[in-house]
């Protein structure tokens, strides 16, 4: 993951385990200063582990919109994906070109009373194989706040998958985060013991 801001730029290497729909485990492996830092998500609960102080910290709801590891992804971005199906209603709103591919433009509007951050999400999905190319996140005023672009679509474990995710914060000039998957294995069984606080506290 590479984070770029006007003041600094840094690259983190990390391993990522996900058991859909709602379990995620992330461990930073480089650089040395931050290696061992971990994030565990179970449903809507989130914990960070900080090896420098050997402490696990539960992320309170009030900090869900704060940046995750200094990137343009928020804590909420890591938690939220699971609920896009249940918390939004979707409708196809025309066809456009995106990243060189013909795409459907899908407008997802938050259902009333859904506990979500974004009022609307606009998805651009490739017509040929339903792979998303671009996602725009809109706030309650209808203003685009974040744009996620997906690229480098390759075949892994027998499936096509976007290997490069680029998140831009529209209102923060010069801030962007690129997630590049270097190795990806899908449909592999993961033991449940990965997604535990014990594992979180045990770097390597």
């Amino acid at each position: 993951m590479t984070v770029k801001t006007p003041d600094w730029q840094r690259t983190l290497q990390m391993r990522y385990w996900a058991l859909n729909p709602n379990k995620t485990f992330i461990r930073v492996t480089a650089p040395a200063k931050e290696a061992g830092t971990g994030t565990l998500r179970l449903g809507t609960n989130m914990w960070n582990y900080l090896p420098s102080v050997e402490q696990t910290i539960k992320i309170p709801p009030s900090l869900m919109l704060e940046s995750w590891m200094g990137s343009d992804f928020t804590n909420d971005d890591l938690v939220r994906e699971s609920s896009i199906v249940t918390d939004y209603s979707h409708r196809i709103d025309g066809e456009t070109m995106e990243g060189g591919d013909p795409c459907y433009r899908i407008v997802s509007t938050a259902k009333p009373n859904a506990p979500v951050v974004w009022d609307r999400i606009i998805l651009y999905v490739r017509q040929s194989d339903a792979i998303p190319r671009r996602e725009e996140y809109l706030d309650s005023k209808g203003k685009v706040q974040k744009v996620l672009t997906l690229g480098d679509i390759r075949e892994t474990s027998g499936r096509l998958y976007p290997m490069r995710w680029k998140m831009i914060s529209v209102n923060k000039q010069g801030h962007e985060t690129v997630l590049q998957f270097t190795k990806l294995a899908l449909d592999r069984p993961i033991p449940n013991s990965v997604f535990t606080q014990e594992n979180l506290r045990r770097p390597f």
Binding site: T5, W8, K33, Q55, I57, S62, L63, S67, G70
Partner: protein, 408 residues
């Protein structure tokens, strides 16, 4: 001179009536001066409270920090800034701080906080947080990484003295900084904003935590009085010729207090206006009485060749004389009352709850007598008296001598 001595004698012709008028003017003016004195004292106290609670009289940062704070916007050339600050007259103290935001967390809970990295010896000269520590002490050295937190925050995090507290921040290089601190002190300022949202740590610890080296975020300056601020800002701008630094007086840092003061001033002017209306009706009454009473006298004067303009002048001078005496009485009484309470203070314990918003508060207000107050109030009284006297003067000058002489 003839008319003035005539006017002066006319003023004292009906002693009781004139004295009553003088007292009305005097008491009104005295009340006005005193009220302004209370307001001035209260405002000074309010400014002083918020200034000494956290923000200081003047803050210096890297340009653009106030608009959009960031840990990467560090103060340019602190030694140069320090030299400029030391050159200020009426300097009480200054402090260099590291300021950033982060997550404070204990085993029980976590919450976002503002982190203030200070050198206690320096910070003591600016803020008064050491006076409101309810348990423990102010960043005692000797303990590895001490942290001083507010009472509200301590309750939220379920932290007490000696407990571990983890601060997680985004450091200046973008990395996650996290360090273990130990709670060595808990303060209660009365302001929920400070008590629930600020943690004090040592400046050197903050520089480690935020990966800042020896850089700092802000210099904060305390002067002898808020009145010195505009001059000091100009002096700093002159001595610190840097485009990459911003020099901000307290009212830009904390516009809320300034607005509160302006609102309060508006109330004061409304009350002052009401008072002047009441005074002017009293004066008008006295003057009209003395004009009616002397209709024949004016008739004779005019029959003997006194011009209408001279009559106007006479009446105006009478009013001026009354005003002048009233002014003396009012200034004397008002100043005496204001100076008395400037020493003794007025206990406002009953309204203290409302004062908590302004920071660390004591419940006693000390009035303050300023030259501006005296001068403006006096001018206002004289103007009011003269304006009010215009009508009776005009009436007197329009008398027809032939009718006036026969007036019973």
């Amino acid at each position: 001179m003839l008319f003035f001595s005539m006017a002066w004698r006319n003023v004292w012709r009906n002693r009781r009536r004139s004295l009553l008028t003088v007292m009305a003017i005097g008491l009104g003016l005295a009340f006005n001066i005193f009220l302004r004195g209370v307001t001035d004292g209260w405002h000074d106290e309010m400014i002083d409270n918020s200034v000494r609670a956290e923000i200081g009289h003047i803050q210096i940062h890297r340009a653009g920090y106030h608009e959009e704070p960031s840990i990467n916007k560090t103060l340019p050339d602190p030694p140069e800034v320090e030299r400029a600050i030391r050159g200020l007259p009426n300097l009480l103290g200054y402090s260099f701080r590291v300021i950033g935001s982060g997550l404070a967390s204990t085993a029980e809970n976590s919450t976002g906080v503002e982190i203030l990295g200070v050198d206690p010896a320096q910070e003591r000269t600016v803020t008064t947080v050491q006076r409101v520590i309810v348990s423990g002490q102010y960043l005692s050295s000797g303990v590895g990484r001490p942290v001083l937190i507010g009472e509200l925050l301590a309750r939220r995090l379920k932290a007490s003295l000696g407990d571990k507290l983890v601060l997680v921040v985004q450091a200046a290089d973008g990395s996650m900084g996290a360090q273990l601190f130990r709670v060595t002190g808990i303060f209660r300022s009365g302001s929920p904003e400070l008590d629930g949202g600020i943690v004090y740590i040592l400046r050197s610890d903050a520089q480690d935590l935020f990966w800042l080296g020896d850089r700092v975020t802000e210099a904060v300056v305390l002067l002898r009085s808020a009145r010195e601020v505009p001059g000091a800002v100009t002096a700093l701008q002159r001595n610190l010729r840097r485009d990459d630094a911003e020099i901000l007086p307290w009212w830009i840092v904390e516009p809320f207090i300034k607005q509160l003061i302006q609102l309060d001033d508006a109330f004061f002017y409304v009350i002052a206006l009401i008072f002047f209306v009441v005074i002017s009706i009293g004066i008008l009454n006295t003057l009209m009485m003395s004009i009616f009473e002397r209709t024949r006298e004016f008739g004779v004067m005019m029959a003997l060749g006194t011009k209408p303009g001279q009559i106007v002048r006479l009446v105006l001078e009478e009013a001026f004389g009354l005003g002048l005496v009233g002014l003396g009485v009012g200034c004397a009484l008002g100043s005496a009352a204001t100076l008395f309470f400037a020493k003794e203070g007025i206990n406002l314990a009953s309204v203290k709850a409302g004062a908590a918003v302004t920071g660390i508060t004591s419940s006693v207000v000390y009035t303050e007598l300023t030259q501006v107050n005296l001068i403006y109030s006096s001018i206002a009284v004289l103007v009011v008296v003269l304006v009010v006297a215009l009508y009776p003067a005009a009436r007197a000058s329009r008398l027809k001598p032939i009718h006036a002489i026969r007036y019973v």
